[in-house]
């Protein structure tokens, strides 16, 4: 019994840390509708700052604490709310997710850049002091952690329930308009909540750093556990969030104490937070469709069929040339790029067309690779079956989230990736713990493709086929519906579209494409293991897809090449890795709002060349994809509607701001 009490106390300590982190997350979400994936990354960076002040510069502990929590963190929060996440809550959830994932990766890169890898150590508060409780010792640091969480809970409760602005904050998650009624200055409210939120992230980081250690990833990822806690409160209710956090802390503590140490249940212990997240998501009530968010994303132009065919063949010719001339080593790189490009095509479908975000796309590729290796059918049949299996798994992931919105879908992919990493891929029936599986190279219609050059060419054929398939789909009924769903889920619902199964199908199809890429990759590599599909790498993949343009096939091809080059570049200077991460992360922060990315700049450049530089040059070149402008100029009315309309040209349209103001005026006048 006494040890049960001990485990309870230990669980509460973990729970308190989760609670502090989760409450900051909830606060920023309720007031600005931005789910800050980077919450933990902020905690990590602030822990480094704390180390820098207290250890490196030798400032007094209390002074460092004050500086970090009351100056640096709020300033960072203010900055972010003012310049990064402003207005993001109104944007589609894919934008806000991409932006905060960008922050996540960018902050990790930044920390690596500022504080290069080195042994660093932050001691706990009052390391010598501890209190005995029966058989158990509670250190002063643990006590401080628990007390901090209580203080945070009480202060937040008072803020949200006993102040006028707090009431508005609470209401605003259901109805953002109400915030405007009460707060008057929504921006100020957003800044305030971000300042507090980041401060809480910092508090969590500082409290955890002495036990977790100063590490770029450990601290950042720990907070993912807090997502699960926040989810119990549906990202709105602070009391429920605290219950969730404490429950999760206790659950993990009891799990480590009482779960058997062998067999499947043993590995369950490691995914308790992820399972908790899944469970919470499943029991969450039906989510309401959002209305009034920003719509009508400017899409990259859809190439005409002729152009698509021309460019596809051009790409094949180029790869064919490479296959004939490059060294084997470089061909492996080309094959890797093709793999990433196909995975990014799956994101074009899911994110670019469908408006949903997956944080586990590489894991789906892993499922495809696993299936391919396990099937031991290195032929088209095995390939297609692998893709179908990946598709089924993708559908399965989307299924529990059927009734919920995009944010929850994205978070469930995160939980899914974690479960795959820690449980499934490692299992004996899969790759095995640390294991690898052999995978044969594909044979098509009985002809085995053994040479690396030939195989890479075959991969690029699949790349082009998938790209064509996507473009065709985009032109058809399904494509239109996808765009419609992305632009306005609410309207689709009121027009009678059951988006739930549609979404499951979409998700499955996207996972299937990723699975195809994984299967092809397995064949390229010959030996494949779970290490090739580390879930974390799905994040840079998503970001690069967005930076290069997640709405166009061209963007995917460029992005795939970029992702392949990333480690090659940082190989030149190992320290460059952090900088590249930072670049990609913060690049995505800015690109997040315009998912057409760099590819669109190329299209524009192409159009410019087209109009300025003589047409006779053009007549000698194959058609370029995506010059929507020319098609238009030709009078060939685009049947797809995705004409590129720059943001700037649209701003002269009258905006329907009246309704917000209308509401505001009424209540303001009376309140």
């Amino acid at each position: 019994m006494s040890s049960f009490i001990s485990f309870t106390i230990f669980g509460l300590v973990s729970g308190a840390a989760y609670a502090i982190a989760a409450s900051g997350l909830v606060l920023t979400y309720t007031t600005t509708r931005v789910f800050n994936i980077a919450h933990g990354a902020f905690g990590m960076v602030l822990a480094f700052v704390f180390w820098d002040f207290s250890e490196r510069q030798g400032l007094p502990l209390w002074f460092s604490l004050v500086l970090v929590l009351l100056v640096v963190a709020p300033a960072a929060g203010w900055f972010v709310s003012r310049f990064v996440t402003k207005g993001l809550g109104e944007a589609p959830v894919s934008s806000s997710l991409v932006v905060t994932v960008g922050l996540f990766v960018g902050l990790i890169g930044l920390a690596q850049q500022i504080w290069p890898p080195e042994a660093r150590f932050v001691p706990p508060f009052f390391p010598e002091t501890s209190f005995q409780l029966g058989d158990t010792f509670v250190t002063a640091h643990q006590l401080i952690t628990i007390l901090s969480s209580i203080v945070v809970a009480v202060l937040l409760y008072l803020l949200l329930n006993r102040t006028r602005i707090g009431t508005a904050m609470r209401a605003s998650v259901d109805n953002p308009e109400l915030l405007k009624l009460f707060g008057g200055r929504p921006e100020r409210v957003a800044s305030l909540s971000w300042a507090i939120g980041i401060s809480l992230a910092g508090l969590g980081g500082v409290l955890l750093v002495s036990v977790v250690g100063l590490d770029y990833y450990a601290l950042t990822l720990l907070v993912i556990n807090a997502y699960a806690a926040a989810m119990l409160g549906r990202l709105k209710s602070l009391p429920l969030t605290f219950v969730g956090a404490m429950g999760l802390g206790l659950l993990t503590s009891y799990a480590s104490a009482y779960l058997p140490t062998e067999g499947l249940l043993n590995s369950v212990r490691n995914v308790v937070p992820a399972l908790f997240l899944f469970a919470v998501i499943i029991i969450l009530p039906q989510a309401q469709l959002r209305i009034g968010q920003v719509k009508g994303i400017v899409s990259a132009p859809l190439p005409s069929l002729g152009k698509a065919v021309g460019w596809g063949l051009g790409l094949l010719a180029f790869v064919g040339l490479l296959a004939g001339t490059s060294s084997q080593a470089n061909l492996l790189l080309v094959g890797t790029a093709a793999t990433y490009a196909i995975v990014m095509l799956s994101l074009v479908l899911l994110t670019g067309y469908g408006g949903h975000v997956s944080l586990a796309q590489l894991t789906f590729a892993g499922v495809g690779a696993l299936a391919y290796a396990k099937l031991e059918q290195p032929n088209l049949y095995g390939l297609v079956l692998s893709a179908l299996i990946a598709a089924a798994v993708g559908g399965l992931v989307a299924l529990p989230v059927l009734r919920l919105t995009g944010l929850y879908l994205a978070l469930s992919t995160l939980a899914f990736a974690s479960i795959m990493d820690k449980m499934i891929f490692q299992a004996d029936f899969a790759f095995g713990f640390n294991g690898t599986l052999p995978a044969g190279r594909l044979s098509i219609l009985g002809t085995a493709i053994t040479s690396t050059g030939g195989y890479v060419f075959a991969m690029s054929v699949f790349l082009v086929l998938v790209a064509w398939g996507l473009l065709l789909l985009r032109r058809g009924v399904l494509g239109r519906m996808l765009i419609a769903m992305r632009d306005s889920p609410a309207a689709c619902g009121t027009l009678g579209l059951d988006m739930r199964w549609f979404r499951v199908g979409l998700f499955g199809m996207s996972a299937g494409i990723a699975g195809l890429a994984g299967a092809l990759f397995a064949g390229l590599r010959g030996t494949i293991g779970s290490a090739d599909f580390q879930s974390f790498n799905s994040l840079p993949l998503l970001l690069l897809a967005v930076v290069f343009g997640v709405t166009s096939v061209t963007g995917a091809v460029l992005g795939g090449t970029g992702l392949m080059l990333l480690p090659v570049l940082s190989s030149g200077d190992p320290q460059l890795g952090g900088l590249l991460f930072a670049l990609i992360g913060f690049g995505a922060v800015f690109a997040g709002r315009d998912p057409n990315g760099l590819a669109n700049l190329i299209f524009r450049g192409g159009r410019l060349v087209e109009s300025r530089v003589a047409p006779q040059v053009m007549s000698r070149l194959p058609d370029l994809p995506g010059r929507g402008g020319r098609r238009r100029a030709d009078g060939d009315s685009p049947g797809d509607g995705s004409v590129e309309v720059p943001l700037s040209q649209l701003t002269n349209e009258p905006a329907p701001v009246e309704d917000q103001k209308e509401v505001g005026a009424h209540v303001a006048a009376r309140g």
Binding site: A171, D487, T494, L495, G496, G641, V645
Partner: protein, 280 residues
């Protein structure tokens, strides 16, 4: 039995009550107006009726079936269509494609074999926006976009139309034409529930009017009765300090949209926050 019955609905956001025990009905073949001062809860009522907002309390019955917990799309399948106050057009599709999507959804798999180009043209013609067929929906004027939303609804052959400020953005002659269209639709048996600030239009077309204030229905009746109801007068006069024109408008049953918009301290048109720039 009425086509639509809203029964004692309450909606709370955090500590704020947006709809407070509201009950009203709308009949088939008739145009029902839902009016009230800004923030009275009209749009929230629409959200509850169409299923986008779960009521804290209360019931919604539609076509003699309780639909309170029915998902949005199933209500639509049962014949409920709606437009939005803040536009929900598919911005990156053309006007024609917007309607086409609606038809596809309505017809399901049938749509695959039946192209329905003629139907689309007919619908665009009916609401009078054929001229914009090839334009992207986020590049057309607000009033046109509202008509587009109506055309989309009509593709689903609804029994009940929920129109949220359908005439804002239309000029006078367009509004007149729009009024005729509504009457025409009602004559065809369709029930129409309309939130509208243009009192001329409301008074001209509505068969019955419900007035909402602070989330409660404070008056229901024929247009003439509503016009003279002291409670209604007071509700509108409640903030006459800031908006004398508004109360005057009600008193004289004349309403100027531009003035209406100017009741707030920010400039009205055409202000577009940067981040919404692409939208409408």
């Amino acid at each position: 039995m009425s086509l639509l019955e809203v029964d004692d609905v309450v909606v709370q956001f955090g500590g704020v009550t947006a709809v407070n025990h509201a009950s009203f009905v709308a009949e088939a073949g008739r145009i029902t107006g839902l009016i009230g001062p800004n923030g009275a809860g009209k749009t929230t009522c629409f959200n509850v009726i169409s299923g986008l907002q779960k009521p804290t309390k209360g019931k919604v019955r539609f076509d003699s079936k309780t639909v309170t917990n029915m998902p949005v799309h199933r209500r639509s399948k049962r014949g409920m269509g709606r437009t939005f106050q803040r536009l929900e057009a598919f911005g990156s599709l053309t006007v024609r494609e917007n309607v086409r999507v609606a038809l596809d959804i309505h017809r399901g798999l049938l749509g695959l074999v039946k192209p329905g180009a003629a139907d689309i043209d007919a619908l665009l013609e009916r609401v009078g926006i054929s001229a914009y067929a090839g334009e992207r929906a986020d590049s057309i004027p607000t009033g046109t976009a509202r008509l587009l939303e109506l055309a989309r609804c009509l593709a689903g052959e609804p029994k009940l139309l929920l129109l949220d400020e359908p005439s804002s953005g239309l000029d006078e002659s367009e509004t007149d034409a729009f009024g005729d269209l509504l009457k025409d639709l009602a004559a065809g048996g369709c029930g129409i529930l309309m939130v509208e600030h243009d009192m001329d239009l409301v008074m001209a077309v509505c068969d019955e009017i419900h007035v909402l204030d602070f989330g409660s229905v404070i008056a229901s009746g024929l247009p003439a009765d509503i016009r003279n109801d002291p409670k209604v007068q007071k509700a509108y006069l409640g903030y006459s300090d800031e908006a004398p024109d508004e109360s005057a408008a009600l008193a004289g049953m004349h309403h100027d949209p531009a003035l209406h918009d100017s009741t707030h301290d920010t400039t009205v048109l055409p202000v577009v926050p940067d981040e919404i720039g692409a939208v409408r």
